[in-house]
């Protein structure tokens, strides 16, 4: 037995297993993609032995008809509301005052203290179309811009402030650029390349 055949034998198994790994990655990526909107009985959460499950709507039936997105429920909920694809009730009690804010009053909030990332423009309008002022003010956020103590990415990632909804029920915190969307102007030049 020559040296070369020993070398070949040494290389071969590793190469074969790397193929297996590549195939496994491809399969799992495919499953993750095709696995969107699993039927309730197959989502790992609902008990398939519950005979009443077939009376409940499966996510795919409702969500596949709404504007698509790449994160969360794979639905762009803001667009769905804007385009009238969903028409959710605003109140149950007749006397509840429903307040939706347009862009002028109060304005979008521009958060500049974002280190090297782009600044954050917080749109009041889109948030008030789903939420009541009291959901955020004065509990999670002070009304006066820049006065909320502890408002930083670390706490957001812990589920405070924006993280109370974003990452749990609204688009997740892995979507950095949806919030950090306002390029920082550089004095005497175009926006910074970042």
């Amino acid at each position: 037995m020559g040296r070369t055949s020993r070398e070949q034998r040494r290389v071969k198994p590793a190469r074969r297993w790397s193929w297996v790994m590549a195939v496994a990655i491809a399969i799992s990526a495919g499953l993750a993609w095709a696995g969107n909107w699993k039927p309730l009985a197959q989502d790992g959460l609902h008990d398939p032995s519950n005979t009443a499950l077939n009376q409940l709507q499966n996510p795919a039936e409702a969500l596949s008809k709404l504007p698509p997105d790449t994160a969360g429920n794979q639905v762009n909920w803001v667009k769905a509301l804007e385009q009238g694809k969903i028409n959710p009730r605003t109140n149950i009690y007749a006397g509840t005052k429903v307040k939706v804010l347009d862009k002028k009053e109060p304005p979008d909030v521009l958060m500049k203290n974002t280190a090297e990332l782009s600044m954050v423009r917080f749109p009041h309008k889109q948030h008030s179309e789903f939420l009541d002022c009291s959901n955020c003010h004065e509990g999670l956020f002070k009304s006066k811009a820049g006065t909320t103590p502890g408002f930083n990415m670390f706490n957001i990632l812990q589920g405070e402030f924006c993280g109370r909804c974003h990452g749990a029920v609204a688009f997740p915190l892995t979507e950095c650029k949806r919030c950090h969307n306002e390029p920082r102007p550089v004095p005497g030049g175009a926006a910074k390349a970042r």
Binding site: P13, G35, P88, L157, G159, R164, A168, V169
Partner: protein, 139 residues
């Protein structure tokens, strides 16, 4: 280093590659399977299983199509943090929390146990599905 020793080491490396490949393959194949619930699904199991019923699964996606967030989180008084709400059947029957709509009027009533208590036994309370917040370590 003797030939036998070299062979031994090579054999060890080969086995290491093979074992780690098998382990990774299994991980990759299993990863998408366990829970593929919808982003924002909430499990309520503080009392359910102790009381002998399945945990409750609340689908945010289903309710959001029909109600704005503010209806439950402002009018009905659901706090915006999983685990902060103590929801008892007695309250629901009296028309509080879920019972505001689940009253046989807007939606099915509190006697339809199996339509809400749909979870697998042993589930932990909390927001499930997608990247729930709880720190960078969770992703």
């Amino acid at each position: 280093m003797g030939y036998n020793q070299q062979k031994h080491i090579r054999h060890g490396i080969r086995r290491y590659v093979r074992v780690s490949a098998i382990a990774l393959t299994m991980l990759m194949l299993l990863a998408p399977f366990p829970i593929r619930a919808e982003f924002g699904d909430v499990v309520f199991n503080k009392h359910s299983e102790k009381e002998g019923v399945r945990p409750v699964i609340f689908p945010h996606w289903f309710h959001r199509i029909r109600f704005q967030c503010k209806v439950c989180h402002s009018e009905l008084g659901f706090k915006m943090r999983a685990g902060d709400n103590v929801v008892l059947m007695s309250d629901i029957i009296e028309g509080k929390f879920c019972g505001m709509c689940h009253n046989d009027n807007i939606a099915w009533g509190a006697d339809r146990c199996d339509l809400c208590h749909t979870g697998r036994p042993g589930l932990q309370s909390g927001v499930i599905g997608g990247a729930s917040t709880g720190g960078p370590g969770r992703w």
